[in-house]
Symmetry: C2
Subunit: 196 residues, 2 copies
């Protein structure tokens, strides 16, 4: 297989593993196993665990921005008016990203590493990149942008804590999830277990 394709496979696997276990909790061996290659290979290909995590972060942000771009285009084509409709359209696409195993979780894990001297600045830059997109491209004001981000961080946290695991057995969890994601629940109910 071409190295380029392997790289994409490994990045995808790394996104899932980092999302599940966090940066420190994930091992290069888990990632390698998930990608179907040997552990030394992933280390050599990316130059180290840290560099690999930064690439995962970059790729995640690119995907999010791309998803936002698609939503902007979709909204424009549908002829809707106003920033609010656009924000909701972007929110729906964001929720779709939840089904991309680990994508938003690895991002969230990065956000919690602000104290790291290398990851921290990258994570902040990524966060601000999204914020500026909402402000400048989408045209939201500061309040609306923060509301949007707050909802996004809430979703990420709900996924991170695996609240869906309690959907069946806990009425509060059910109420909360039904309220948050009335139409998107099936995205989270897909098998998120294991891949130990």
């Amino acid at each position: 297989m071409r190295s380029e394709d392997r790289r994409a496979l490994i990045l995808e696997a790394a996104t899932a593993v980092f999302g599940e276990h966090g940066y420190h909790g994930a091992t290069t061996d888990q990632i390698a196993r998930a990608a179907g290659v040997s552990q030394p290979y992933v280390v050599r290909m990316f130059g180290g665990k840290e560099a690999m995590f930064l690439e995962v972060l970059d790729r995640t942000l690119q995907r999010i921005i791309a998803s936002f771009d698609a939503a902007v285009e979709e909204n424009r084509a549908s002829g809707a008016e106003g920033e609010e409709a656009l924000a909701h359209c972007i929110g729906r696409n964001y929720a779709d990203l939840l089904s991309d195993r680990g994508l938003l979780l690895s991002l969230m894990q990065a956000f919690m590493l602000g104290a790291d001297p290398v990851v921290g600045p990258h994570a902040r830059a990524g966060f601000l990149r999204v914020y500026r997109y909402l402000r400048e491209v989408v045209g939201l004001d500061a309040t609306a942008a923060n509301d949007f981000l707050a909802y996004g961080m809430f979703l990420n946290t709900i996924v991170g804590v695996r609240m869906v695991d309690d959907y069946e057995n806990d009425s509060s969890a059910r109420e909360m999830l039904d309220e948050i994601l009335p139409t998107k629940l099936e995205l989270l109910m897909t098998d998120r277990s294991s891949a130990s």
Copy 2:
């Protein structure tokens, strides 16, 4: 010193260290050093790193609920009416918790460990405990409770990513922080650096 007091000291140190580096990123030695004791001592006192983290999680939730209780009392004494005023009062007290080094961050770190077979269920239970408090004690409806939690998760994330580190140099970061925390910024500007 009495073992009971040592325990409290260590839990406080552990909260800060876990908050900064995450569960896997934090080492028992860092915690011991921060508490001024030896590494074997903290391990023996709590029975292991995992058990210690669970105690940190419990203590954090107790503090949050206590802060909410205080806000409810304060709001009742001030004679204000309506759930909205109460929610804002609680929000202010929640923001005050941000100055408790690592308190909300260690909670957030726990929330990102939903995949962990031991920590995950505890984290979910804690999250739902807060949710039920908002619903049953404060009297918010499901939508208002979620809005409140969303804002809280947003604050936690902003602190986790150390957005204040960019306050001076990045106009977007400044705009965002000024919008989110118009009166509470000084809480975050206190020295959150190092304690490597």
